[in-house]
Assembly symmetry: C2
Homo-oligomer: 211 residues x 2
Amino acid sequence: MKEGKFSKNQLRRYPIYLKFLSNLKEQGVEYVSSPLIGEELGYSQEQVRKDLQAISDEEGRPKKGRSVSQLIDSLESFLGYRENNPAILIGAGHLGSALLRYPAFSSMGLMIKAAFDVDPNKIGEMIGETHVYPLDDMERLVPGLCAKIAIICTPASVAQEVANLAVKAGCRAIWSFAPIHLSLPDSVILEEVNLASSLAVLSHRLDSLLD
Amino acid sequence: MKEGKFSKNQLRRYPIYLKFLSNLKEQGVEYVSSPLIGEELGYSQEQVRKDLQAISDEEGRPKKGRSVSQLIDSLESFLGYRENNPAILIGAGHLGSALLRYPAFSSMGLMIKAAFDVDPNKIGEMIGETHVYPLDDMERLVPGLCAKIAIICTPASVAQEVANLAVKAGCRAIWSFAPIHLSLPDSVILEEVNLASSLAVLSHRLDSLLD
């Protein structure tokens, strides 16, 4: 992996390139140009070229373009999809259970080793291939799992509390799906997926369109 | 609602303000200042002031600050949480089912009127309070439901195809959870929630932290 600073928006584009290139490969396409990628994904060709150069040393061949397989290799390697990133999930409700059963995570290198909940009906159960433990066991179990990522799917009202517990247990990155903004020490990575925020953008633009 | 241009990032902040203020109200807090909101949510006080002025005519009172209840009113009204926005959902798998059972959507004004799938085991079933219909019925049913929003939770491989069908059936906004970038006419609103992109940001920052 090349060193360098990557913006959030740039990082968000890499899985989108990878998915597009994987589809091309399935269709038997061997070479692809930056302008074609840009056109299909709605990015400028300069942006595509810059993004791909930042993660791959391979230059495209004149006329032929870049090797699809080599780009896929570079992207999977850069994104850590071939590593094992152990994670835990807290809050095995509807959304948490859906994420536990989401098959794409393992292909992204994300291994959810354990789930935690306070509901006696869930504790001791398997959801997908993951065992649900009592929340009280988290601090004891996390170090042995080497889990640095905690996925939070609890209601908003307890999300801050369980995030603090996860950090105390040794997690260094919080991926939160709870509909609230969390406050964490600067030494902890926080990435929030806020469905209400996403819906706000959609609804406002739809209202403007229909007015 | 005040007129004006709103950036995507600004729109994404409004539900976060609303959640924070609703929590304050539950705790019995009646007035709040922009600096306090900013401090709690990690925004500058100038940004908070500008965001709130754009959606509310009410000025804060010196020393007391702004009325929490009035801000909540303005935010709920601006975000359309008191309206009914009919929507459909396509792809009633794990993630789709989780969204169908997500109680917060109705409080955001989003009413999922029907779900569509191709799986004979799901067609005819109720998931939460929503009936699952055959995908083939979508074009016939959508106009009567007045649904302008289609939520797409299918695998990547069929997401583009079902998005096209939804647009043909009359939907004007696509909220996609499929892990692929969709291409749609400019007249259609597209908002994508890409978990792979979110995870890429998290993982890269975690790698940098642990190196």
